[in-house]
């Protein structure tokens, strides 16, 4: 693939989004030579995505946004050099346009009016270059997250960009998917020689892909610039505190207070589930017990059945076979009752289920109302509801957001809100599906501490996740799920 790598010149550049008072970035000076591979770092909100979007020519000043300074790709303003730039975003689902793999890669070529006889050979070439394992006719809906992201990459590199921008390409993927995508990026970097700017949280694994690291400050400009080793040596501590995963700065796991687990709260016996219309079981013959005062991790890759298991033990799905019942440890409930038969109100009072996407559980237009909803549903009265809300706002550092609309919160704040809303009903068990998904180091550490504290308080905590370090740091017991089958692995 012949690509002339592009040069990037940024002089005293700044950007203010429409409707915001503060500047996302200001007085930014950065020069990237053709063929260089740069890692952009900084805390959440440091404007990294804004910079990439600007380089891709996607930011416009309509609606009241403001720009200053110069942003040049190969000497031309970024708005005019869109076809020299390719950008890959973090959510694979919202980058794929077509229902079939080959059609999606061909999309960019059609847009650029490439001659029809040239299109398919280039598509096939791009699919091979990213290591896509399936052919042109593969339905995009049947691909795993990692494969979808590879396809998105193919769709971008088929256009032979001189500048390749990658905005957290592995953030939404499980470890296997992330590996697939990193391998594809490594191959491309080796052959193509395009200039590359990469934003990534999982810094450990991306170091080999880049030769330079640049740190940005929120509302400011470049704070550090050099080889990754230099930058981490000089700024590692500070970056880690701000939420960046710096190699060599692991999060210290909370100390474990040794105590025996209490009574059984929830028990699954040979529980199986098949989604309506599916031919295979998503989960088969699962046996599981959750006790008070213990943290249980359910690990496995995406699609293994972890989420199904989490929803079964949360009483949200009715088992196709087998049963999920309340144990003797569940207060004011007769042991042996099936969870799926419980009224929603009772369920919320006993079990707090936290979904992978916090937005799925937002029911009101105000953070405070979200927190008061649960207690009110339990009939606890306005005074008690308000008291609990205040306590949770305090505990999870959401006080300043009490009047905000939940959808306007940042990723980390939304996650904390969804956990807090589940806690508001003081449930005996908490079940969380991928709580660390898309979270930075700071939220990761906070969640770890919070869940460990809940466990120490005597609650039963279940975390379904593919984040193995998190599971290792928190769990007293680990259970792995693969292809719908559960295998226990004691700690």
């Amino acid at each position: 693939m012949v690509t002339a790598p592009a040069a990037v010149e940024i002089r005293d550049w700044g950007w203010r989004h429409a409707g915001r008072r503060g500047w996302a970035l200001r007085h930014l000076d950065l020069h990237v030579r053709p063929g260089e591979r740069v890692l952009l770092l900084g805390p959440s909100g440091a404007g990294k995505s804004t910079l990439l979007a600007a380089l891709a020519g996607l930011l416009g000043t309509d609606g009241g946004a403001e720009a200053e300074g110069e942003l040049l790709v190969d000497g031309a303003h970024s708005g005019r050099s869109r076809d020299r730039v390719g950008i890959v975003f973090q959510d694979p689902e919202t980058q794929l346009v077509m229902a079939r793999a080959g059609d999606d890669v061909a999309f960019g070529l059609e847009n650029r009016s490439v001659a029809p006889e040239e299109i398919w050979p280039r598509v096939d070439r791009a699919l091979t270059d990213v290591g896509f394992r399936y052919g042109r006719y593969r339905p995009t809906a049947a691909l795993s997250g990692g494969e979808q992201q590879r396809l998105a990459l193919a769709g971008v590199v088929v256009l032979r960009p001189g500048l390749l921008l990658l905005d957290e390409p592995t953030a939404n993927l499980d470890p296997d998917g992330a590996r697939l995508v990193r391998a594809a990026i490594a191959d491309l970097a080796a052959d193509a020689g395009a200039t590359m700017l990469l934003v990534e949280h999982r810094v450990d694994e991306t170091i080999e892909l880049v030769d330079r690291a640049v740190v940005l400050a929120p509302g400011g400009g470049v704070v550090a610039d050099g080889t990754p080793a230099e930058v981490f040596a000089a700024h590692g501590e500070r970056l880690a505190a701000a939420g960046v995963w710096v190699p060599g700065h692991p999060v210290t796991p909370p100390s474990r207070t040794a105590h025996a687990a209490g009574q059984v709260l929830i028990e699954a016996r040979q529980a199986s589930f098949r989604y309506p219309g599916a031919d295979r079981f998503a989960l088969a013959d699962a046996d599981l017990q959750l006790r008070a005062g213990e943290a249980l991790a359910v690990v496995g890759p995406n699609g293994s059945g972890k989420s199904t298991l989490a929803m079964l033990i949360g009483g949200l799905l009715r088992p196709t076979a087998g049963e999920v019942v309340a144990g003797p440890g569940m207060a004011s409930v007769r042991p042996g009752t099936h969870l799926w038969t419980w009224a929603a109100r009772r369920l919320a009072g006993a079990i707090g289920s936290v979904f992978q996407d916090p937005e799925h559980q937002f029911l009101t237009g105000r953070v405070r109302d979200e927190l008061e909803l649960g207690p009110r549903r339990l009939g606890l009265g306005d005074g008690e509801a308000a008291r609990r809300a205040d306590e949770l706002l305090e505990r999870l550092h959401l006080g300043h957001l009490a009047e905000a609309n939940p959808y306007t919160l940042s990723g980390g704040e939304k996650r904390r809100l969804s956990v807090a809303s589940a806690l508001a009903t003081a449930p005996a068990a908490m079940i969380l599906d991928e709580p660390t998904f898309g979270q930075d180091r700071r939220t990761w550490a906070e969640l770890l501490e919070l869940l460990a504290a809940l466990r120490d308080d005597g609650r039963g905590v279940v975390v379904a996740t593919h984040d193995l370090p998190f599971a290792a740091a928190l769990a007293d017991r680990t259970v792995s799920v693969h292809d719908g089958r559960v295998a226990a692995a004691a700690r």
């Binding site: 794929l96 346009v97 077509m98 960019g108 009224a343 919320a348 559980q361 029911l363 589940a422």
Partner: protein
């Protein structure tokens, strides 16, 4: 409430391989003939003609049946509504309770209207159930001159449809987890539905916005012209299909006219 996903027919079948625009024209011709006449003969003949095409479609009869049942149910309702509550009975009615005054004649008319509705709808159902949305978008833009930005832009949104369906389910489960469930009270149920719909729209609109950005980043809409990776054109067999449909449409109407049974919609 479960949401359905598109039917996937056998791709080798005659109808599946036909050009999308040709199929639309075919369905339109049949629909027009059914629209204009409200007599039993025309409706029955047209519907028979359409049902005869089912083997050519590659769709399993059971799948088609399951998909078509709301249509049948509504057609029955339509038949009864028109049959039992006619405008002016010519003969003496079989029953006479206010507007409920069916006559033998009105019941026949009711049957005709029910079958007519099915004839109107079934052609389109077959045409679309055997058409891939991507091919349809391509054909509409290439052959009918529809703006590619609108055609492909809409197609991209349609690709998100299965995700939207799954999201609706997940939102229901999430509400149960928060202790909120539709009870007996219809007002509460309506508010719950509204909240769930809001959440669905938020997620759908956000996905749409991101998709639009990604499309623009790949050059969509930057220049007025584009090339096509999957050319769509009419072949002789496609013209043949349209011809066959027009024959059936004309034939059914003519036969009904010859039998003296044809009745125009208006008057």
């Amino acid at each position: 409430m479960r949401l359905l996903v598109p039917l996937v027919p056998d791709r080798g079948a005659v109808l599946a391989r036909a050009n999308p625009v040709a199929k639309l024209a075919t369905a339109a011709a049949l629909m027009l003939a059914a629209l204009l006449a409200i007599d039993l003969v025309t409706a029955t003949l047209l519907l028979a003609g359409e049902l005869a095409a089912v083997p050519l479609s590659g769709l399993r009869a059971s799948a088609l049946g399951r998909r078509a049942w709301p249509l049948v149910a509504v057609a029955v309702g339509i038949g009864l509504a028109n049959g039992l509550f006619p405008a002016q009975p010519d003969a003496s009615p079989l029953l006479d309770i206010g507007p409920l005054r069916p006559t033998a004649d009105s019941l026949v008319v009711g049957l005709a209207l029910g079958l007519r509705l099915m004839a109107i709808s079934f052609a389109g159902l077959l045409a679309l159930a055997t058409t891939d949305p991507t091919d349809l978008a391509d054909a509409l833009a290439q052959q009918l001159g529809l703006s590619p930005r609108f055609s492909i832009g809409t197609l991209a949104a349609v690709r998100l449809a299965p995700l939207v369906a799954v999201e609706w389910q997940t939102l229901g489960l999430a509400r149960r987890a928060r202790g909120v469930e539709a009870g007996r009270n219809p007002i509460a149920a309506a508010r719950l539905f509204g909240g769930r719909l809001l959440a669905l729209l938020v997620s759908a609109i956000r996905r749409g916005t991101r998709l639009a950005t990604a499309m623009e980043a790949r050059g969509f809409g930057a220049t007025p012209s584009r090339t096509w990776a999957r050319p769509q054109r009419m072949r002789p067999s496609d013209w043949g299909l349209i011809g066959a449909a027009m024959l059936i449409a004309a034939g059914a109407s003519w036969l009904s006219l010859a039998l003296g049974s044809w009745r125009f919609l208006l008057g």
